[in-house]
């Protein structure tokens, strides 16, 4: 079965998504509605195990190539798994498993939960598909599956705010995906192939010709903007705060942990693999700095906890772009390590916000206060997450940010590094404000009776907090996790050779 692991990692969530309505109907007939939740949770954990089973082979340096239907690479669709794919797939699978556990209690007050779980599984299948595929049009299709399901998830509660956020996200996101489709079309017209490895070789040949065809920069631009919408680079970030604020917290956690990770992956894969984009590293650095500064400054004045977290999410994306933009081995390593850490503590913070919303009913910072006495565990976990995201030493955020700073100094960009350090301090500032408003200070009258969040919600938060601390104290562990991915980003020829050689 290990040989089939790449396709099974996509099929398991897809199959679970199709099966969820049936399971739900059957479970309702027999009076055990919870069976549906257990089913989804089991599927997510099975997917995690399948992804993990690929790890030893990939870390040995192999590129797993899976030929769909037995058709060999340039003609058929292939799934190709190297270090970068594996890292992202591991992040997604773990995040989705934890969110499936978290949703059991968090979403119990909503109706139509079988649709929620179906959409959750479809988002997962889309993310997995984007991550594991080696075919550019297949990537687009899975990207659309992921996007459309996430639009529906944002609008899931159908309140005024979620519907407004949903339609904004939907229209901006659809414009972005149409850019991606246009770019794929141009690429097919120029080169006549859709396989990423094949395309990489052929575009390399075209780039060698002088003068460069006008179409190559246009394609790269359309890809960068299309994926940039998903990761909320600054001129394209406007949908994100609305969507994160209005969506249920579990969905916000999913969006910040899984779909943005996938966006970064797709951007890296396409711009580095297809275009060898070391040349546009400077652009990534500038966009990263702008993203970082605007996200941080906007977060400073927010009144809503989830909106604050959303803007800080934009800010963290800036660090990743910055690290990747340096283009050195250490920069990419730092960027990818920050991608991993960002998924960990962002999901943790959104889960804490969800616990507060679940118990109090609001995420408006002005109406909260003094919750530290009532919810001590949630408060501790939130503080762990907040310190980690601000890059305070014993937590994981420090390790990755430090790597990015060192990479910046080595790449000869001291000003960028200085701005990054200042923004890190600003991050701590606005998280201190959030902590102060929520857990410290005077307690309003109506919050006296608030209790600690239930255990099934605390468990995934605890797991993530433990990861925060462990990766902070033993950063070499995280570095070992990230190094194969960094090697894969830099080793373009190896990927092309392995995929094309599989035929």
């Amino acid at each position: 079965m290990i040989a089939h692991a790449p396709i099974l990692a996509i099929v398991v969530p897809l199959f679970a998504g199709f099966l969820t309505p049936v399971v739900s109907i059957v479970a309702k007939r027999f009076g055990v509605e919870r069976a549906r939740d257990w089913f989804v949770m089991g599927a997510a954990i099975l997917m995690l195990l399948i992804v993990a089973s690929m790890a030893p082979a990939v870390w040995r340096g192999e590129v797993l190539v899976y030929k769909l239907g037995g058709w060999s690479p340039p003609w058929g669709i292939v799934l190709a798994v190297d270090g970068l794919n594996l890292l992202v797939a591991l992040i997604i699978a773990s995040v989705v498993s934890l969110i499936a556990i978290y949703s059991v209690v968090y979403m119990e007050r909503d109706s139509g939960l079988e649709k929620y779980y179906t959409l959750l599984m479809l988002v997962t299948a889309g993310c997995m598909g984007v991550t594991l595929t080696g075919d550019v049009f297949n990537l687009f299709v899975f990207f659309e599956i992921m996007s459309i399901s996430s639009y529906a998830l944002v609008a899931f509660r159908r309140n005024w705010d979620s519907v407004e956020a949903g339609i904004k996200y939907m229209i901006i996101g659809s414009l972005g995906t149409s850019f991606i489709l246009l770019s794929i079309t141009l690429m097919y017209g120029l080169v006549g192939s859709l396989n990423i490895a094949d395309l990489a070789g052929k575009i390399e040949a075209i780039k060698a010709t002088q003068p460069l065809p006008m179409i190559v920069p246009l394609m790269l631009t359309l890809f960068v903007v299309g994926f940039g919408i998903k990761i909320a680079m600054v001129p394209l970030h406007a949908w994100l705060p609305d969507a994160y604020q209005a969506a249920p917290s579990a969905v916000s956690a999913l969006l910040s942990g899984a779909t943005t990770t996938v966006g970064v992956y797709a951007m890296l894969r396409v711009s580095y693999m297809l275009f060898g984009a070391l040349a546009i590293g400077t652009m990534f650095i500038i966009l990263g700095l702008v993203t970082m500064v605007v996200g941080g400054l906007m977060a400073l004045t927010q009144r809503d906890l989830k909106r604050l977290l959303a803007y800080s999410s934009i800010s963290q994306m800036g660090y990743i772009l910055l690290g990747v933009g340096f283009g050195t081995a250490m920069g990419i390593q730092g960027g990818l390590f920050h991608l991993l850490n960002n998924a960990i503590y962002k999901v943790l913070l959104f889960m804490c916000a969800g616990a507060i919303v679940y118990r109090v009913g609001t995420s408006n910072l002005d109406e909260l206060g003094g919750l530290g006495k009532n919810m001590p565990i949630t408060a501790t976990l939130f503080i762990v997450g907040a310190l980690a995201i601000s890059g305070v030493p014993p937590f994981n955020g420090f390790a990755s940010k430090w790597t990015i700073y060192v990479a910046g100094m080595e790449a000869g960009q001291p000003i960028c590094t200085a701005i990054a350090v200042v923004m890190s301090a600003l991050t701590l500032a606005y998280f201190l404000k959030a902590i102060n408003s929520m857990f410290l200070g005077q307690q309003p009258e109506h919050l006296r009776e608030v209790r600690e969040a239930p255990l099934p919600m605390l468990f995934p938060m605890l797991v993530l907090a433990v990861f925060c601390v462990v990766l902070g104290i033993l950063p070499s562990l995280g570095m070992d996790l990230v190094r194969p991915a960094q090697g894969a980003v830099m080793n373009q020829l190896g990927y092309i050779g392995s995929v094309m050689g599989a035929g």
């Binding site: 199959f15 099966l19 309505p21 239907g69 037995g70």
Partner: protein, 144 residues
Amino acid sequence: MAGMTVIVRTIGRLLFPFLFLFGAYIIVHGQLTPGGGFQGGVVLASAVILLLLAYGMEGAQAKVNALQAELADALGGMILVWMGLMGIIVGIAFFQNVLPFGSLGQVLSAGNLPVFNLGVGIKVAASILMVFYAMLRIQGGKEE
């Protein structure tokens, strides 16, 4: 939704079997002629939607109700995934052909493709119908 005049109702009733047959024809001959699962599924769904327009919500629900549409949707999806998994179980790869090819030009030929088209057809028809039902439900203001 109320329904329409006698003319529309009669024509809709008379057209329904032919539309359904045409949809089924397109799906079954997907591997031989232009068309296939998606196109045939849309025609199938449009047959039911014609009834919906002519007779109102009740007329369509009498043929296919929302629960049946949802189950058919899941069924179509599962046919697709199972056809893929058959490749793993029997052959060597996902979506590998497992059924015999047959002779060119026959309806039952081309290996997996007819089954595959059938799955797509069921799924598309059910999905489009579900979309229509859902939108009508929102429009009618009966939801929640």
